[in-house]
Amino acid sequence: MTALPLLTVVTDDVIPPYEQLRRQLAYLISSGALSAGQRLPPLRQLAGDLGLAVGTVARTYRELEAEGLIASRRGGGTRVTSLPAGLADEHRHRQVAEHAVDYVLKARRLGVSDDAIIDAVTRAVGESSPRT
């Protein structure tokens, strides 16, 4: 049995819960972990499981819908859409940019310099490059 994708919300994070959810779901969709046509949990179920207000999850779904990643239909629930190739690339780039912003914010909170932040990224890219 394949493990189900999990969503994590940290309530005291600087990023608001709806945005944390939006980023994680957008990543799961763009990476293919959630495939086109797959149904997302109903608002109330997901809100209950995460102890969040229904409006918070509704905002996440609204934003993902506006980005074209999901579509809601009355009676049919909310499903992942199939993105055209160009749009999928655009989403991937946007997510990389968001991850980069996250990383920079967290690193700055540790009090390191911008050079150290860039060095760490360069090293990480070098270390995780596919070997030939």
Partner: protein
């Protein structure tokens, strides 16, 4: 494999306590209805009342599961459906019994007449000839079927609400650790709900079948189809009794079938 004990003990204890409170309150309500209801109405309403209290107990147990409150919370991207938790065989049997009860009560209500004191729908009357009329009571006409129908409809609506809560309530912990065990807890609750519906429907169905068969056969000048219908109702009794026993077991020991399902 699902280990039911993975679900926090306090939550298991709370849901089981609420369920048994519902069963005990249901027995008390059923006994009280039997002792106080006039003209057999109380006896007829006893089983549906028992079912209603069991449903209320299950609903209270499910509502008692707290929402996650820690700073880090996790949820699986998975859709939970009522059909994931319902016991298929028992649900089909109870649905069949409910359809049987609706059909039977519709017929007996349409055929009911007023009794000698003018109480509508309490007698079966047959005009044998211009001069001779035969009658039989008690009959499951509107005098009995209307209050019974109201309680059964309220019970089935309550079951739908309780089942929705079984599906929607939050998981009592990290889904990575206890999805299977929590699903087992939900399956037990769903089985109790369907069992309560089975008791709620099967007891009035058995009682109405007996009263209707006795009413038909007591009329000397009955048409042939009354005789056929009476014996058909009698022939169906073992089936309804099986549904009742199966439902009673689901209410009193829901863990048996739920565990078997999880282990499959």
């Amino acid at each position: 494999m699902a280990v039911f004990e993975d679900v926090p003990a306090a939550i298991r204890r709370r849901t089981v306590t609420w369920r048994w409170s519902g069963v005990v309150a249901g027995v008390v309500a059923a006994v009280a209805a039997t002792l106080t209801g006039a003209l057999g109405r109380g006896l007829l309403l006893a089983a549906p009342l028992f079912g209603l209290f069991v449903l209320a107990g299950v609903l209270a147990g499910e509502l008692s599961v707290p929402s996650p409150a820690g700073r880090t919370r996790r949820a699986a991207v998975a859709v939970r459906r009522a059909t994931d938790y319902l016991p298929r065989g028992l649900t089909s049997a109870v649905a069949l019994a409910a359809a049987g009860l609706v059909a039977l009560l519709s017929m007996t209500t349409a055929m009911g007449s007023a009794d000698d004191l003018g109480r509508a729908g309490r007698f079966l009357v047959r005009q044998c000839s211009a001069a001779l009329t035969e009658g039989h009571g008690a009959w499951a006409g509107s005098f009995y079927s209307v209050p019974l129908g109201v309680v059964v409809v309220v019970g089935l609506a309550g079951a739908a609400i309780a089942l929705r809560q079984v599906v929607r309530r939050p998981r009592p912990g990290d889904p990575a650790d206890l999805t299977a065990a929590d699903d087992q807890l939900r399956r037990r609750a769903a089985r109790t709900i369907i069992g309560a519906c089975g008791v709620l429907v099967a007891v009035p169905l058995i009682a109405t079948s007996l009263v209707t068969a006795a009413g038909f056969l007591s009329i000397g000048c009955r048409p042939a189809w009354w005789t056929a219908a009476a014996w058909l109702l009698v022939a169906l009794l073992p089936g309804w009794t099986t549904v009742l026993a199966w439902s009673g077991l689901a209410v009193l020991a829901p863990q048996r079938q739920a565990s078997a399902h999880a282990g499959a």
